[in-house]
């Protein structure tokens, strides 16, 4: 649009310039006609002057002027070659001009022959007035023609100029309008963008608030579970004290009862003198009573061992919940040094199992020292506990770093874990394989919880009889994030 207007405006300006050129051209033509007339007159007066005075000055002037007359006509024809009317006029004017020039030539001829009177007479006799009249007429016509052209061309030029200015003004108006529209549109889009930005900001804030809320909820839920586990395990202990207490009381009663039965037997059989001897009381029991005593004792033993086990489980839960509540403190840890210290503490176990523990260079990480100690000592302890009997143990600890994480592998050549148990071993109170070692099934569950709290993951790769590799991945730079922060 703007290009079209510009092109049009350029075109019009060009046209106007052209029109102006035409106007100037007309004026030039007019001017030249006047010059031509003037020259004829000059020629005439010079001829006359020469005739009268015979001065060389006039002759020169005459020659100069007369030679220019025809060239003037030719120039005019060339100049106004576009106009047939003018060409015709020029051709028409040529004849009387020539007649006049011829007359002057003749007169000059007379003058040269010193026949001034003849010349004058010739000039007088000739019908010079008619030719001059014709020249004047034709020149007048030509001038009128040029006048008309001048008027016409001026009008055209004016029109073109007006048109050009109108187009320019219109173009400017259009430009301003377009600029206004652009500004308006720009403003509108800016406003829309601002609104969208504000919305986005709000959404972000909302999202953050929502995340915070959910996090708070989760933390609350987690705390609740911790409290619940704590209270439950705690309250379970109370009845357990009773069960254990009264079982022990029953034991006492059993002893008392059977002593009395034995005493009665003895009293019935022999003299009561030997009653106070403990051994004899036991011995005095009849086979049937002995069986009863054994059954009694067996039942009590089962109850007691179950209670003891339950107590261990409850203690384990209590410890776990306590562990869950502990605040972690990230510090720079030389892992190799830490694991060497752990290996020192299990040196006795290792030598008993004829196991070698090999520690490769390990990356330093920032984490919680106590948690790391628990993780690695559990894993090394497990590796030592579940070696293959009769085979010298080989345990190695390797480490590497990858993408901001430190990866530790604890490998052994032990009895291995059936792949179907790989998930199970991480569950609380669950164990796998041959149950020939003491344990509650807590270690790995605890380790995994710790690793997760430290922002890491852990996995196992193992097959039966092929040894196991436990892989612990921990962030190299762990900082107490919000998971660890109490609300």
């Amino acid at each position: 649009m703007l290009v079209a207007i510009s092109a049009l405006s350029v075109l019009l300006v060009d046209r106007a310039r052209e029109d102006n050129d035409w106007v100037v051209h007309t004026v030039e033509v007019e001017n030249d006609i006047s010059t031509l007339q003037l020259r004829i007159r000059t020629t005439e007066s010079a001829a006359r002057g020469y005739l009268l005075t015979e001065e060389q000055r006039f002759l020169d002037e005459y020659l100069d002027a007369s030679s220019k007359v025809h060239s003037g006509i030719d120039a005019l024809i060339k100049l106004s070659g576009d106009n047939p009317t003018q060409i015709r006029n020029f051709n028409e004017i040529r004849e009387p001009v020539q007649a006049r020039l011829d007359e002057f030539e003749k007169a000059i001829g007379f003058a040269r022959r010193r026949d001034t009177a003849g010349g004058i007479a010739m000039l007088r006799s000739s019908d010079s007035g008619k030719a001059t009249q014709r020249i004047n007429d034709i020149a007048g016509r030509m001038r009128a023609e040029e006048e008309r052209l001048f008027m016409l061309r001026t009008q055209t030029a004016d029109r073109t100029e007006r048109l050009a200015s109108i187009v320019t003004v219109a173009g400017s108006g259009l430009v301003i309008l377009l600029a206004g529209i652009s500004i308006f549109l720009l403003r509108r889009s800016t406003r829309a963008r601002d609104a969208a930005e504000a919305q986005l900001r709000d959404a972000n804030l909302n999202l953050e608030a929502t995340v915070d809320e959910r996090t708070a909820d989760l933390r609350e839920a987690n705390n609740e579970i911790q409290r619940f586990a704590y209270i439950v395990s705690h309250d379970l202990r109370s009845p357990l004290v009773n069960i254990m207490g009264f079982t022990s009381e029953l034991e006492e009663l059993r002893t008392d009862i059977f002593r009395r039965i034995g005493a009665l037997h003895l009293a019935a059989a022999q003299s009561p003198v030997l009653v106070d001897a403990e051994n004899s009381v036991e011995a005095a029991l009849e086979t049937e009573d002995k069986q009863l005593l054994d059954n009694f004792s067996e039942a009590l033993e089962f109850i007691k061992s179950s209670i003891a086990k339950m107590d261990r489980l409850i203690s384990a839960i209590l410890n776990l919940t306590r562990e869950g509540r502990r605040e972690f403190e990230p510090v720079r840890i030389d892992t190799r040094e830490l694991i060497e210290a752990i290996v020192t503490t299990v040196a006795h176990q290792a030598s008993e199992a004829e196991a070698q523990i090999h520690i490769e260079p390990l990356p330093e990480i920032t984490s919680d020292r106590l948690a790391l100690e628990q993780i690695f000592s559990n894993l090394i302890d497990n590796a030592l506990k579940y070696l293959k009997p009769g085979v010298p143990g080989g345990i190695s600890v390797r480490g590497r770093t990858k993408l901001g994480f430190a990866i530790f592998d604890i490998s052994d050549n032990g009895r291995g874990i059936d792949p179907k148990d790989h998930q199970r071993i991480f569950d609380l109170f669950r164990r796998a394989g041959l149950q020939d070692q003491p344990g509650q099934g807590i270690g790995l569950a605890h380790v995994r919880t710790l690793v997760r709290r430290l922002g890491g993951t852990m996995s196992v790769a193992s097959e039966l009889d092929r040894g196991s590799t436990f892989t612990v991945t921990l962030p190299i730079n762990w900082n107490a994030n919000r998971r660890n922060r109490e609300p």
Binding site: D235, P239, L240, V241, G245, T247, E249, I307
Partner: protein, 146 residues
């Protein structure tokens, strides 16, 4: 322990109460034991109906306190006893299942005199109570403040 000292046993679990009493008796302590199974009744007895504790002004008492009571925390009872001007010199023995270090610390801070964890293992339990009984037999309870 002088015969005048009364042992106030605040223990909601009757089984525990029975076991404690038995083992105290076995250690040869024959003082009167007044059992309470809830905090409210124990407080009413200790502080009297007016809540001033004036009733027991002249008596020598020893409090055996469990922390997990159904109606209130044992710590609250401990706190109130130690804040009362007539009762604050009364020895308080906390006997509870909790072995949480925070709880223990808090009890001592509040003025508890002895903190004993009830072990599940009965032998340890009986042992602890009997030693407590022995402790009772040598302990000097402040004479009734006048």
């Amino acid at each position: 322990m002088s015969a005048a000292v009364t042992i106030i046993m605040i223990e909601d679990d009757e089984g525990h109460a029975r076991l404690i009493e038995r083992n105290i008796r076995r250690s040869g302590v024959n003082n009167e034991i007044v059992p309470f199974t809830s905090g409210t009744t124990a407080l009413r007895y200790l502080f009297g109906n007016d809540g001033s504790g004036l009733e027991h002004k002249g008596e020598a008492l020893l409090i055996l306190l469990d922390l997990n009571l159904p109606d209130m925390g044992g710590i609250e009872i401990l706190q109130r006893v130690k804040e009362n001007k007539h009762l604050k010199s009364t020895p308080v023995v906390v006997l509870t299942t909790t072995d949480d270090s925070h709880e223990i610390k808090r009890c001592y801070e509040l003025g508890c005199n002895v903190y004993i964890t009830k072990p599940v293992n009965y032998e340890s339990f009986a042992n602890a109570i009997r030693q407590l009984g022995l402790f009772f037999s040598v302990i000097q309870v402040p004479p009734a403040a006048t």
